[in-house]
């Protein structure tokens, strides 16, 4: 591979990889994502390759093992381009039939096709409601590229934004564009990314850092993995652009320790980007230097909190620090450090490539762009989707998600996991929007949407989250640690039928203190699911309390 050191070099490269991609008559994309157990994907891909080999078609028809396609509960899925024929729940032994029927005879294999009561049997992506209501600006790459191939990404327009930023824009131009786009952080808080970048950019220091938060510790959230595993380059590209705007020369990717394929894809992405000179010294001849290092989370929820995450990048215990000085001013090694979520970074190339004006046409007044959501719990089409902000939760759950899928009525949807809250079915027409959801006590968090049906017990759910936090917090501060300990005991008492109204009052008191006096956001929001359940599902508590005379 040659180093790319100018705009012209890049155009030549892009033309070359595009013509290579266009030389295949068809591409069979096989989902190897983590959502439907990637091993099957690998087997299916090699079975398809074998079949093609036998027929002498391996030059004309390419098989790609890709990242998560999104429709996890129907996985493994394959998509045949250019027709966009989608086969679901594919098995290794289906390979022969797929090649003989679809590839050789242009016939659909009926039994592998999506079907529901409304649309009947539909082989094409464009007719499947799960797909055709999405706006897959980020996820769209997943079905088309081999995550290990930088050329695939470049052929589809990847790294053009980086080249544009470094050859045509100044760092402040980039910053202004991000500010203008109103991009808000996707990791939970919805904090304006441009504003955070500016703080780090303006902080006085020669050394600055940029970091990708790919910890994804929220149970039920798996969209960051879908991006990083399916197209690590889009995140890397965003990170390099951000580093350029902020003035950082060192970046870190903090990601999961328990997903070897994901890690391998990130490592490969970094080394390929280095070979082309998108990472390293004097990137694209701009004089800008940048390097990236990977760190692993080892699996405790609290380490996703910004100050804890930064400690663990230093090799120290991931305990949060009180944030009287923001990490954007004093983070890793006390240097200004800008942390953003995987999905936040993935939005950056889109904004730079297409402009803030284009971007801010998508979404609602104050929540711009798209959001990735992972659907789990009582839902027919569990998986990862990408929809514009503003879509109603009803549309997400029923039209894309296919409803509960088990014959039971919807009860509520729960956002934000252990730091979030539930939205009862009466409010299901609420739009997907940072502020609208937060106002109802169910901040969208990282985007894990848990669907509950009428048989689900809110006390059980709330207890689950507190049990989770009891082992996944650091245990340093009293309100969080001892508060969780006592609330769990009181909840158990209520579940056992011996709780009193006074116990509920005591719980509320502890919640207040946790919110006001805990050290980090984990403790300060630990009571969130519980308070949300008390608000919307009080009957489930009351019916278990000892009746007072």
């Amino acid at each position: 591979m040659q180093r790319i050191s100018s705009y012209e070099d890049f155009l030549k490269l892009k033309n070359r990889v595009q013509s290579i991609m266009a030389s295949s008559e068809r591409i069979i994309s096989v989902c190897g994502g983590g959502g439907c157990s990637s091993k099957d994907g690998k087997k299916i891909a090699s079975a398809l390759k074998d079949e093609l080999g036998k027929k002498g078609l391996e030059e004309k028809i390419k098989v790609k093992l890709t990242g998560c396609h999104g429709m996890c509960s129907w996985g493994p899925s394959i998509i045949i381009y250019p027709e966009e024929i989608c086969y679901l729940k594919v098995k290794e032994k289906d390979a022969t039939e797929i090649i003989e029927e679809t590839i050789l005879r242009n016939r659909i294999v009926d039994r592998l096709v999506y079907e529901d009561e409304k649309v009947g049997k539909t082989p094409h992506l464009k007719d499947i409601p799960f797909y055709n209501r999405q706006t897959r600006l980020i996820l769209g790459y997943n079905t088309k590229i081999d995550p290990q191939s930088i050329d695939d990404y470049i052929a589809l327009g990847g790294y053009s934004a980086l080249v544009k930023a470094l050859t045509q824009m100044s760092p402040t131009d980039v910053l202004e564009e991000i500010k203008k786009s109103n991009l808000r952080g996707r990791g939970g808080g919805g904090f304006p990314a441009g504003q955070k970048w500016e703080t780090t950019r303006n902080a006085k220091s020669d050394i600055k850092y940029v970091i990708v938060n790919g910890h994804e510790g929220e149970p039920g959230a798996y969209m960051d993995r879908a991006i990083l595993g399916g197209n690590p380059h889009i995140v890397l590209e965003g990170l390099i652009i951000g580093a350029y705007a902020i003035g950082a020369r060192q970046g870190f990717i903090y990601t999961r320790h328990d997903a070897p394929d994901l890690l391998k894809n990130i490592e490969t992405a970094i080394s390929k980007a280095r070979e082309y000179g998108f990472i390293g010294k004097n990137i694209l001849g701009s004089g800008f230097d940048f390097d990236v290092e990977i760190h692993l989370d080892i699996g405790i929820f609290v380490s996703g909190e910004s100050s804890a995450l930064m400690r663990s990048i230093e090799g120290k215990i991931p305990e949060p620090r009180p944030k009287y000085i923001r990490t954007s001013v004093s983070g890793i090694y006390e240097k200004p450090s800008n942390l953003n979520n995987v999905e936040t970074w993935a939005n950056v190339p889109l904004i730079i490539e297409n402009g803030a004006e284009w971007y801010s046409k998508i979404g609602t007044e104050r929540s711009k762009g798209t959001k990735l959501i992972s659907l789990s719990g009582r839902i027919k089409n569990a998986g990862v989707i990408e929809v514009p902000f503003g879509m109603s939760l009803r549309e997400i759950v029923f039209d894309l998600g296919g409803g509960t899928g088990n014959g039971n009525d919807l009860k509520a949807v729960h956002f934000g996991s252990a730091m979030g809250g539930s939205i009862p079915k009466e409010l299901i027409d609420t739009p997907l929007d940072f502020d609208a959801c937060a106002k109802l006590g169910a901040p969208i968090g990282a985007g894990g949407l848990l669907v509950l049906d009428e048989k689900d017990d809110m006390l059980e759910l709330v207890s689950y989250f507190l049990d989770f936090l009891s082992t996944e917090s650091c245990g340093k501060c009293v309100p969080c640690r001892e508060g969780i300990r006592q609330i769990r005991k009181l909840l158990k008492k209520i579940k056992d039928g011996s709780g009193t109204y006074q116990d509920v009052e005591t719980i509320r008191e502890i919640c207040d203190v946790q919110k006001e006096a805990s050290l980090c956001a984990l403790g300060r929001t630990a009571s969130s699911p519980l308070e949300s359940a008390l608000k919307y599902f009080w009957k489930e508590f009351e019916s278990r309390l000892v009746k007072e005379k």
Partner: protein, 148 residues
């Protein structure tokens, strides 16, 4: 201590990879031997109590050797409401141990793991790297028999 030296070298003796080094130790030995804590402390000039604290902080790490087969149950919320709790109970009953322990014959260890992101096919258990999706309590005896 050769394995420790090669782990330390893999990260160029850089202290900020201490957590990753401990993970490699856990990987290599199946647990974190006490001596390795002292060794890393000395070689990286990190106080012993800091290494100890990290080595006990994560559920992924264990100071005790693990059994021949490690059973991990996904502790994610979706698995839980779809019957994961019953799966854990069944495993505890069948093995006669609690989560976090190993059977006396050191055949099975039982653990919870972080949400695997395979919510679409939960409840899920993973044994020696093999993933079993949509597990029901009644399937477990069969799965264990197959393992040994």
């Amino acid at each position: 201590m050769d394995y420790l030296e090669s782990i330390i070298e893999k990260y160029s003796r850089r202290r900020n990879f201490l957590i990753e080094m401990l993970m490699d130790v856990q990987h290599e030995k199946g647990y974190i031997p006490r001596e390795s804590i002292f060794y890393l402390s000395k070689r990286l000039s990190v106080p012993v109590n800091e290494v100890m604290r990290i080595a006990t902080f994560y559920k992924t790490f264990s100071l005790k050797p693990k059994a021949e087969h490690v059973i991990k149950v996904c502790s994610g919320v979706s698995c839980y409401i779809r019957g994961g709790r019953e799966v854990v109970e069944k495993l505890e009953n069948l093995l006669g141990i609690k989560v976090g322990d190993s059977t006396p014959d050191m055949k099975f260890s039982l653990e919870l793991s972080s949400c695997s992101g395979r919510c679409a096919s939960g409840p899920e258990i993973e044994i020696d790297g093999e993933v079993y999706g949509n597990v029901k309590p009644d399937d477990i005896e069969g799965i264990l028999k197959k393992i040994g």
